[in-house]
């Protein structure tokens, strides 16, 4: 069976590589294929590519992508770290909702985050008006649209990832080393720095590299808030494909982007492995304490800051959806008129919701099957070594390029293209989380089943599958919320004959209908977060 396993592994790996590389190949081909339509400006092959690779615009885009991603990550770590400490150490009211904030960066489409931040921090936003009412300056000029505005939005969008990932490791951290340092006379901070920090660092750096990757590939938020301060490589790729039609330039930008992202992905993997090695020695999760007075105050203050700066914009978004105005700037009052209009003639909301549910449902099912197949093959064919490096590749490839490659292969505007595009963003996450649960399986059970005469397939079904089933369900739910909330793939592929929730959202904002856009946003976020909470539930019970 070992050789059968090897073959299986090889087959899944080849399929995976094909799925990753096919759209890229198609794009590559379309960039160099002689286009009969523009024969007038035929250039020697590759000259556009080389020119774009070494242009000052590319250099500027690299600088901007790196600096904004680095600053955003640093900022997110600073905001997230206290939260990670609190959820790891203390029991307090609001701990659970705190952890579920991690859903936001995965499930809330950036376009909604943008709307939320404008409604809250904009010149006429709630926050700015509150500041002005308190006599604290009348909204300075356009912070949101500057470099630091962009960094702030990114940091607020991603810090919950730090809370959840670092917090879960922090909770398992043995106190012994820190306590030893204390008895040897070290101060609290020194004891932490010497005792706990080295053990915490791998997981901290791992989450930081994930946030870095997200910000590095950031697209919609940079389009809106970064217009003046600069553009990332991803935005450059998008412009080159969608507007200038200069595919060689897109290819050059994407090559540079992937090279950098691979480094970040590799460090993500490296830190992950170190983290796993370090945490092997950790025992069970230490019981959480009830906070004492000082800690209580600190937690309350932290919660207040998160509510004011992070949840505030989301509340503003929800409020906007239930606001009815006689005119765009007229007096506002509470009502369901916005929803009524969306459910009225033609019911665009229902159509889009059904389309979204079906496409994302299908993409999630396929992503789950695929991710499970890959991680299972890795698990059974190799004895216990963690290496799903293939699942890291997609994290380093421009979604805009993949989308354009897919539509070059299959034609744009079809449903299959959207399903495949969304499948390609979701399966790596399924594969990675399943890899972890396969890794935690006890091999003995499977072996016992085999000794009793079960075939490998039966041994898998009877011994292992029941154990990984909860995390499988949770990975599927996660894949569903990810594909549901993803607005980039449909946006990059363009609509066509049908409409999904994110596409409806974009179309509403382009037709003066901002309250309706918020209402669609509410429906979209309920759909994505429902799946996410379902996932949290299965995690908690497992």
């Amino acid at each position: 069976m070992q050789s059968g396993g090897r073959k299986l592994l090889l087959a899944t790996r080849l399929t995976t590589l094909a799925i990753i590389l096919l759209p890229l190949g198609a794009f590559f081909f379309s960039a160099f294929a002689a286009n009969p339509a523009s024969a007038g400006e035929a250039k020697p092959m590759g000259s556009g590519l080389a020119a774009a690779l070494f242009s000052s615009q590319t250099a500027a885009a690299v600088r901007f992508s790196l600096s904004q991603a680095a600053a955003s990550t640093l900022f997110a770590v600073i905001i997230g770290l206290p939260g990670a400490y609190f959820v790891a150490t203390y029991n307090f009211a609001g701990r659970k909702p705190f952890l579920s904030l991690a859903a936001v960066p995965f499930c809330l489409p950036p376009i909604l985050v943008i709307l939320a931040f404008i409604l809250y921090y904009g010149k006429n936003g709630w926050f700015s008006r509150a500041l002005a009412a308190a006599g604290l300056g009348g909204g300075g000029g356009g912070f949101l649209y500057s470099f630091w505005g962009l960094v702030t939005v990114h940091a607020f969008y991603n810090f919950p990832i730090i809370i959840q990932n670092v917090g879960s490791v922090w909770a398992k951290l043995p106190k012994s080393r820190e306590e030893a340092a204390r008895t040897l006379g070290a101060g609290r901070f020194r004891a932490f720095a010497v005792g706990s920090l080295p053990q915490l660092l791998p997981s901290l750096l791992q989450s930081a590299s994930l946030v870095f990757l997200f910000c590095f590939f950031s697209f919609t938020i940079v389009l809106v808030f970064g217009g003046l301060s600069g553009s990332t490589l991803e935005v450059g790729i998008y412009r080159a494909i969608r507007f200038t039609g200069d595919r060689q330039r897109a290819l050059a930008l994407a090559a540079v982007q992937t090279a950098i992202a691979l480094m970040a992905a590799a460090s993500f993997e490296g830190f992950g492995r170190r983290g796993a090695a370090v945490s092997k020695g950790f025992g069970a999760v230490a019981p959480r304490r009830r906070p004492k007075r000082a800690a209580k105050t600190a937690i309350a203050a932290y919660e207040l800051l998160v509510i004011v700066f992070f949840l505030g914009p989301l509340f503003a978004l929800a409020a906007e959806a239930f606001t009815v105005r006689d005119s765009m700037a007229g007096a506002a009052r509470f009502g369901f008129g916005t929803f009524a209009r969306l459910l009225g003639p033609g019911a665009p909301l229902v159509k889009a919701l059904l389309n979204s549910l079906s496409l994302s449902g299908l993409a999630a099912i396929l992503a789950t099957l695929f991710g499970v197949a890959l991680s299972a093959a890795e698990h059974y064919a190799r004895s216990g070594r963690r290496s799903t490096w293939i699942a890291l590749l997609p994290l380093a490839i421009s979604p805009a390029l993949v989308a354009a490659g897919l539509s070059a292969l299959l034609g744009s505007g079809g449903r299959a293209v959207i399903v495949l595009g969304q499948l390609s963003i979701a399966w790596p996450f399924v594969a990675r989380s399943m890899e972890a649960s396969f890794g935690a399986l006890e091999r003995r059970k499977n072996e016992a089943a085999r000794t009793l005469g079960a075939t490998p397939a039966n041994a898998f079904l009877l011994a292992d599958l029941p154990i990984v089933a909860p995390s499988l369900a949770s990975a599927a739910a996660f894949a569903f919320s990810m594909t549901m909330g993803d607005a980039n793939i449909p946006l990059l592929l363009g609509g066509g004959r049908f409409e999904t929730l994110p596409l409806l959202l974009y179309r509403l904002t382009s037709s003066y209908r901002f309250s309706e856009a918020c209402a669609v946003g509410i429906v979209l976020s309920i759909a994505t977060s429902a799946a996410f909470f379902f996932k949290e539930g299965t995690n908690e019970s497992s």
């Binding site: 904009g122 765009m328 089933a469 363009g494 609509g495």
Partner: protein, 342 residues
């Protein structure tokens, strides 16, 4: 024996998702004998003219029209260039005078003979061979929020004054038609000096958004009191909100215009039908649908304008404007603004 420990609730959820998926995939099949028209988002939205146009045309000519939206105007052109002769469309609606040279360069469009074209202003003709024909037009203009604290500027030059620092929202010339329109406008007024003008303008710009929608959205949310848009925008607020709060500013130097164009694809097997549909698009009956859906002036001068258009100032002078280098200049303009912001 439980192979997978899904609870009943979980199982039913998964089944539900799968069922909905299968159902809606099944519903979409079906071939088409209809005329296929590529266009952009706002044309096909439920507030756009597309459905009504198709309905009228089917009644009149017995031919169904199917629209495929390609995103916005810029994306439409990129899709055309990319698909080339393989574009699965008979006609295209939604190119404009600024993108026309690039669109015509593709060689994809065939000349069409439309009797209704003669009812329009000759100044709207962009292509002498009528491969692309005008169906509506509007002037680019800055819109002023009259409830803001600033005085309205009276010229492009006024916009560079310190009192308008961070008070203006414009669109990116690399990705949007209004952005390109502003570029053409400043080139028409300042000739070679347009780069200097953009440098002087930079401190006044609060945000440069990727498209008109985002920029205008920020404006109506009160982010800035001035926005680049169309002279006809206040007509929307008049018609649907009965307010005259937002006012078009007629600038002393004159304005640049956007002329929206449609054309028949040479590769279409149904060129005659496509031509008939475009001629219908230029008829008074069809043109009357455009002002309050596209918020543009109809190309056919015999069309009656709705009352809401009375709020658009009559004294706007349209300059003849085009962009010297349609590929390099938008990049240069955006670079000037980003350079100044740093």
């Amino acid at each position: 024996m439980s192979i997978i420990r899904f609870s009943r609730k979980e199982t039913s959820r998964v089944i539900l998702i799968a069922a909905v998926a299968a159902l809606s995939l099944g519903c979409q099949a079906g071939g088409s004998k209809s005329l296929t028209v590529w266009t952009y988002d706002s044309f096909v939205s439920e507030w756009g003219p597309s459905a009504k146009l198709a309905e009228l045309y089917e009644k009149q000519a017995g031919v169904k029209v199917e629209y495929i939206s390609k995103g916005d105007g810029g994306a439409l052109l990129a899709e055309l260039k990319n698909a080339g002769a393989k574009a699965e469309a008979d006609a295209v609606i939604g190119l404009d005078n600024n993108s026309a040279p690039l669109a015509l360069d593709t060689g994809l469009f065939a000349p069409s003979k439309l009797s209704n074209l003669a009812k329009g202003d000759k100044k709207l003709i962009v292509d002498e061979k009528n491969r692309l024909v005008p169906y509506d037009y509007g002037d680019f203009a800055f819109i002023w929020d009259s409830e803001s604290t600033i005085e309205p500027p009276e010229s492009l030059e006024d916009l560079t004054k310190p009192e308008y620092a961070k008070k203006v929202i414009i669109m990116d010339p690399r990705t949007s038609t209004p952005g390109l329109g502003l570029l053409a406008w400043t080139q028409a007024v300042y000739k070679e000096g347009w780069r200097d003008y953009w440098k002087r303008l930079a401190p006044s710009i609060l945000a440069m958004t990727p498209g008109w929608d985002t920029g205008y959205g920020l404006f109506t949310k009160g982010e800035a009191p001035l926005v680049l848009s169309y002279s006809t925008s206040p007509a929307y607020h008049k018609a649907y909100e009965n307010t005259e709060r937002y006012k078009t500013l007629a600038f002393s130097e004159g304005h640049s215009a956007q002329i929206e164009l449609a054309g028949v694809l040479a590769a279409s097997k149904r060129r005659k039908d496509a031509e008939k549909f475009l001629n219908f698009l230029l008829s008074e009956e069809a043109q009357a649908l455009l002002p309050e859906t596209q918020w543009m002036y109809p190309a056919n001068a015999a069309t009656t304008l709705p009352a809401s258009f009375s709020v658009v100032p009559k004294e706007i002078v349209t300059l003849s404007a085009s962009i010297a280098d349609p590929v390099g200049d938008p990049e240069a303009a955006a670079a000037i603004l980003s350079g100044a912001a740093r």
